[in-house]
Amino acid sequence: MTIDASRGPQAAPPELVQLLTPEGERVEHPDYPLELTQDEVRGLYRDLTLVRRFDLEAVALQRQGELGIWASLLGQEAAQIGSGRALTDTDMAFPTYREHGVAWCRGVDPVKLLGLFRGVNHGGWDPAEHNFHLYTIVIGSQTLHAVGYAMGVQRDDAEAATIVYFGDGATSQGDVNEAFIWASVFNAPVVFFCQNNQWAISEPLEKQTRIPLYRRASGFGFPGVRVDGNDVLACLAVTRQALANARDGQGPTLIEAYTYRMGAHTTTDDPTRYRVASELEAWKLKDPIERLKAYMFKNRLADQEFFDAIDSEADTLARDMRKRCLEMPDPDPMAIFDHVYRDRHLLLEEERDQFAAYLSTFEGEGR
């Protein structure tokens, strides 16, 4: 059976917003002008490099048994830093479990991200302090929370936008489609930021969609745009504009950041079972950090001294993070009963007291 081409993904070639080619050539896009100072470009380079180093250290910590699992952002740094740096302080972000780069932009101490993966807590930062919500593991759930939050912002007449992150796989979930509908119907000030890293664990994009994901937006009644997810400048420019539109009462936008998951899905995954090495090699040539570095060299925005300084800052960050990870205390067993309810709960108190009494029977036995 052959399928009519007009029904397939090839209907019209997808457009990709790009401001920096993989070779580090700056190109212009009529809809997305971007002027950055030298310091701003340097800042982006620093962000990209530090989060990659942080992420690699977390992978190492998992290998050494210090973390139970880790979801690496390798390859997706530009999508996360570009969009993360587009946010203003009052904007709110809702992440999945892989948004370590966005967390970095929101000022969340990287060590706080480790708690969940080490198994000492389920989250561990105050979302309101950073305007960065907790990681959400159930695929797609957070998209509805983000829309609801944006509806609140709308009712408060506040100057803020909400951004929500999710993956290509997540676009299949009912929750995500409901979020699109709500956002559209209520004209919610929300930006849907989909990192299409081509894979949902072992399932390639074709298992989720037959059209480019950004085109789904039009069916829901708002604009969609595909951006080169490995181009930090384009991600910054496109997200800035979508956020500005949201703040301006123009409603939602879907951004599809076209990128690639360079690592395993998580540290427990073995991608050699389902994907070929040549794909990885092709994407290596589009590396987000290398292209920015090439651009900066070519345009004399930084010299070797600058890059060396960033590398050594990255090493220091990694060392510090490792140290503080190892120092993270195991929670007290009685913490099981903490924060389950805000108001008094007698049944739980009874259980807690019984458990404390039970534990005390082991005192002196080194349990």
Partner: protein, 324 residues
């Protein structure tokens, strides 16, 4: 007789079912090329093709909803839910449709759908990967609910579940996936709804299913050293429940301890305790006691050893039972 891990035993059971009946389908997230995150479906897509072993889009409601449609068309879908905590997006389809459509049709419709769910904790996982949601489903009329505890049972039970014309929720104890045992692939096995006395004893009847059967067997061995004789029953089927086997045992021992990972409060043990109290009232020397999780969400993994019933907590409860 071959030695199989529990995950491999289910894999072999699925393979047999796919071979025996062309209407059997396997579907879920990552079940194809990857063979599932626990490799339970390893190699099946290669051998039976993409039309029978289906990598679905990432949506649990979609998996169960379309499985219902396939069943209406005469297929027997076996759905994999990747982890216990991700069955909830499918809860609507399971509870409002899968469980109720046959009745709604006055018997005209059958829905032979199996929902496989790796369940329970003990593997050091992050949130939503260690839950024991069985009571939500045993509470729903129209569903059969079973839990395997060992490779031999797993091999036969999965095939029986697939042959059943009713929807079956099939729990697999994920921390026991790697446990190995001899499996006689020719043995017919017990009926799906039968409980099994896995260790005979005189003093206390231990009721368990899934991951806690092994814990109870270890407790029985430890108790024996103290001169206590524990009888361990693997319930295998939670709905229906093999009340005859349970009652027979408790009437002999006069004591009963229920062990499960799920919270004790409103857990499956509550049903067991109530039933046993009713059916064995004059034989009981002690109230039916329960060991299980607390009335809290499942804790972060570094605390799970405290949350999960272990040898000490099980034996402590046995002591309390014997002290009455």
């Amino acid at each position: 007789m071959t030695t199989l891990s529990l995950s491999k035993a289910i894999n072999e059971g699925l393979r047999k079912a796919l071979e025996d009946d062309p209407k059997v389908l396997v579907m879920g997230e990552d079940v194809g090329k990857l063979g599932g995150v626990f490799r339970v479906t390893d190699g099946l897509q290669k051998d039976f093709g993409e039309d029978r072993v289906i990598d679905t889009p990432l949506a649990e409601s979609g998996i169960i909803g379309t499985a219902i449609g396939l069943a209406l068309r005469g297929y027997r879908p076996v759905c994999e839910i990747q982890f216990d905590g991700f069955v909830f997006p499918a809860a609507d389809q399971i509870i409002t449709q899968l469980a109720k459509m046959p009745l709604r049709s006055l018997g005209a419709i059958k829905l032979p759908v199996v929902v496989r769910i790796p369940c329970g904790g003990g593997i050091g996982a992050v949130e939503h990967h260690s839950e024991s949601p069985e009571a939500y489903f045993t509470h729903t009329g129209g569903l059969r609910v079973v839990a395997c505890s060992n490779p031999a049972d797993a091999y036969t039970m999965i095939q029986q579940a697939i042959r059943s014309d009713d929807p079956v929720i099939f729990f697999e104890p994920k921390r026991r996936y790697w446990d190995k045992a001899d499996v006689d692939v020719e043995a017919p096995g017990l009926p799906l709804e039968a409980a099994k006395v896995v260790r005979e004893g005189r003093d206390v009847t231990m009721l368990a299913y899934g991951p806690m059967v092994k814990t109870c067997l270890e407790a029985a061995i430890a108790a024996e050293e103290d001169g206590r004789s524990l009888e361990v029953i693997d319930l295998r089927s939670l709905n229906p429940l093999d009340t005859a086997t349970i009652t027979g045992s408790v009437r002999r021992t006069g004591r009963c301890v229920v062990v499960h990972e799920a919270p004790v409060f409103n857990g499956f043990g509550a049903e067991l305790a109530a039933r046993i109290t009713e059916s064995c009232f004059y034989h009981l020397e002690a109230p039916v006691l329960r060991v299980g999780g607390f009335s809290t969400p499942y804790p972060p993994s570094r605390l799970e050893e405290h949350y999960l019933p272990d040898l000490d907590r099980v034996l402590d409860t046995v002591d309390r039972s014997l002290a009455f």
